[in-house]
Symmetry: C2
Subunit: 378 residues, 2 copies
C-alpha cells in the first residue's frame, strides 16, 4: 500500500466533503436553486477577499483571470509597470505584450521581494502609468511582497495596483479593501481548497472606471458581462456547476474557521516549516518568505530533481521542484489550503528521510522535533 500526500503549491488537496459535493448530480445553472448557491458563494468569497466589491467567477485557470485584469484595466495607450519577483510575475509582462503593449519591468533577483525604492523611483520618473502589476505570494520563489507599501506608492503616482493573489488568497493575510488594492486575481486550486478550473477577480470602483474606458479587445474575459449577471446569481457563460458546488462547501469550511484563523494557521505552519528545515542545516531560498509555500535551496552536490522524484515515487509525497532558471536548485513544500500540522510533519519527515537516503549529513528527527515545538497545543 502507498498512500499519497499532495504537498504541492497548487493543486492542493481537496477535502473529502468538497469532493463529495462535486460528485452530486449535475444542477442546471439557469435555475433558482443554482442562483441561490451562487449568491451564497459570492458572499463568502467577499469575506475571503475582505472586500465589499463583487468577486467575479470565471471558468478558466488563474492565468485567464490575469488576462482579464490586463485587458479590462488597460487601454491601447496605457503605460504600465510590472514588478517581477518570479515566474508568475513574468507572466504579467507576457500578457501585456500579447495586448500589443509594452510594460516597464522591474525584475528582482529571484528569491527577493519587490524593491520598493525602485518602484517609487520608476513611477516618479515615468508619468502617467495606469497600473502597477504585482504578485502577493510568488509561488515559484516562496516570496511575499509588501502589498500595503506597493499600494501606497502606486496610488501616490496615480496608478492602480493589480495583484496576482492566486496562490495567496485564503492563506496569506490579505485585506483588499482596507489595504486599497484595486484589482485582485485568485485561483481555485490553492487556498480555496477545490480542484483547478475556476478563477476569481475583484475590481474596486476605480478599476471599474478604467474598465469602462478600456478599448482592448475581449469577449470571454469582458468583465462587464460577468458583473452584469452577479445580482441575478448568474454568469454570462455556462459555469462549471460541479466546481461551484464544491466551492460552496469549501467556503463554508473557511468561513466557519474564520478567515483570520485560516491566515494564522498558515502562518504557524510556515514558521514551523522554516524553523524545521533550518534546523536541518538547509537554507531558505527567499529573503522574505511567504506563508503558503517554503522554497528551500538544494544542498550542494545533490540533484534537486532526485529529491522530488524519490519523494513522489518511493514515499508517495508530492512536493514541487524549481521552475525554469530555478530548476534543480530549489525544492518547494506547500502549507496551503487544506493542510494542518500533520501534513507539515509528513513533509518534514519525508524530506529528512530522502536527504539521508541521498547521503546528506543530517540527523533524522532534528527538523521534525523543532516543527513539533511550533505546532503543539494548537
Amino acid at each position: 500500500m502507498k498512500k499519497k500526500y499532495l504537498l504541492t503549491p497548487g493543486p492542493s488537496p481537496v477535502p473529502a466533503e468538497v469532493l463529495a459535493k462535486e460528485g452530486m448530480p449535475i444542477m442546471h445553472h439557469r435555475t433558482s436553486e443554482f442562483s441561490e448557491m451562487f449568491k451564497r458563494v459570492e458572499e463568502n468569497l467577499k469575506e475571503v477577499y475582505a472586500t465589499k466589491n463583487d468577486v467575479l467567477i470565471i471558468a478558466s485557470s488563474g492565468t485567464g483571470a490575469m488576462e482579464a485584469a490586463v485587458f479590462n484595466t488597460l487601454s491601447s495607450n496605457s503605460k504600465s509597470v510590472v514588478c517581477e519577483t518570479g515566474v508568475f510575475g513574468a507572466r504579467w509582462s507576457q500578457i501585456i505584450k500579447s495586448a500589443g503593449l509594452e510594460s516597464l519591468v522591474l525584475a528582482e533577483e529571484y528569491g527577493d521581494p519587490v524593491n520598493l525604492a525602485t518602484l517609487k523611483k520608476t513611477l516618479s520618473e515615468n508619468n502617467g502609468v495606469t497600473a502597477v502589476f504585482g504578485t502577493l505570494t510568488e509561488t515559484s520563489t516562496g516570496v511575499v511582497n509588501d502589498i500595503q507599501a506597493m499600494v501606497e506608492i502606486a496610488h501616490e503616482y496615480g496608478a492602480i495596483l493589480v495583484m496576482d493573489a492566486i496562490s495567496g488568497i485564503g492563506g496569506q493575510e490579505f485585506l483588499m479593501d482596507e489595504w486599497g488594492v484595486d484589482v485582485v486575481v485568485a485561483g481555485s486550486q490553492k487556498g480555496l481548497m477545490i480542484p483547478p478550473g475556476l478563477a476569481f477577480i475583484s475590481l474596486n470602483e476605480r478599476a471599474w472606471e478604467l474598465a469602462a474606458q478600456s478599448d482592448l479587445p475581449k469577449f470571454y474575459f469582458d468583465l462587464k458581462k460577468y458583473r452584469s449577471k452577479v445580482a441575478a446569481g448568474q454568469t454570462p457563460f455556462t459555469p462549471p456547476v460541479s466546481l461551484i458546488a464544491g466551492l460552496d462547501e469549501s467556503l463554508k469550511m473557511i468561513t466557519q474557521e474564520g478567515i483570520q484563523n485560516v491566515w494564522q494557521r498558515h502562518q504557524k505552519m510556515a514558521v514551523a516549516t522554516r524553523a524545521a528545515v533550518q534546523a536541518l542545516g538547509l537554507e531558505l531560498f527567499s529573503s522574505q518568505p511567504c506563508d503558503v509555500v517554503t522554497a528551500i535551496k538544494v544542498p550542494l552536490g545533490i540533484d534537486g530533481g532526485k529529491i522530488v522524484k524519490i519523494l513522489r515515487e518511493k514515499y508517495g509525497v508530492s512536493i514541487a521542484g524549481g521552475q525554469l532558471s530555478m530548476k534543480g536548485k530549489i525544492f518547494r513544500i506547500a502549507h496551503m489550503g487544506y493542510m494542518e500540522r500533520f501534513d507539515l510533519i509528513i513533509g518534514i519527515t519525508a524530506i529528512e528521510m530522502v536527504l539521508k537516503e541521498l547521503g546528506v549529513d543530517i540527523e533524522l528527527g532534528k527538523g521534525v522535533s523543532v516543527a513539533e515545538k511550533h505546532v503543539l497545543g494548537w
Copy 2:
C-alpha cells in the same frame, strides 16, 4: 421524495461512474501519471471527433474555445462570413466584433437551417473571405445544418469552415476529417457527459497555417501554446484535473459503445421524440431538426414558461424554454449524452401530464405509445 431528471441541452446528466472519478483525490498535473491519462484522453477525443488532428483542451466554457477559433484563424485584415441559425450562431459575430472586425452575417429565420444558396451567392460576390463560421446543431432552435455542403461551398471559394459543434459532438454524426471541416469547437457538458468547465478545439493543417499568420491579440487562448504541449501530455496552464479524470472515464464509455453506435442511439431517440410530440398534436419548431435536442412550439394560448416551471417544480423534470426572441414560444427537450430510451419516456410522459394539467386537449399516453414503438427491442 422527488427524484430529479435533467433533460436539458447542456448541462446534461453525468454518469455516476464519471462523478466518482471526479471525486478521487487531486492528482498533480506535472506528473507522468497525469500525462499518461491526458494522452489517453487525447487519443479518445480524436476518435469522437473522427480526426487525426490534435484536439486541444482548454479550461473554459465552450464560448472560450469559440473565441480561440476566431482569434487564432483571423487576422486584423480578414473578411469572414457568419451563418446564423440561432442564438449561438449570433455569438460568432459578437466575438468577431470584439476583435474589431466586421463579418457578413447570413441570418436565417430561427428554426431554419443555413440557406446554402445564399451562402454560395455571398461567397461568390465577396472575394477573399478567410473563414465561414457556422453551427453543427444550434441548441437554441434544434436545427442541424448541412455541414458537408457548407464545407464544399466554403472551400470552393477558398475559405475555411469553422464549426461550433458544442452541442453536437458526441451526439450528432460528425466526421471532421472525412468531411474536411477545418476548425471544430466542442464543450464538455453535452455529448461528452461531464460537467461544464472544459472546451475543445481541433484545427487541421490549413487552419494552423492561418493561425501562424494571425496577428490578433491573445494569450490564454493562444492555441500554439496548447499545441506545443500535447506531445508531452501537458497543457500550458494548470488544467482542471478532476474534470479531465472524469472525461477519461466518459470517453472510455463512449469509445466502448463505439461512436457510430452513440450517433445511432441519439438519432433513434430524436426520431422517437419527434414522432411522439407530433402524435400529441404538437408542432416542431425546426424545419431541419437535429438529433440532440427537440424544439417544440408551445400550443396556442399556453404560457411556455409555465410548462418549464411546472415540469421542474412539480415533476422534478428539467427541460429548457426558449431563449431571447423565442422565450415563451418554444420548449426544448434534450436527448443528449448520457440518455437512453427511458429518459425519453420520462420526458414524453412528463410533457403529456403537464399539458393535460394546463388544459391542453391531449390524450395521455398517446405520445409515449408512439415513442415506445420506435425504441422497443434496441
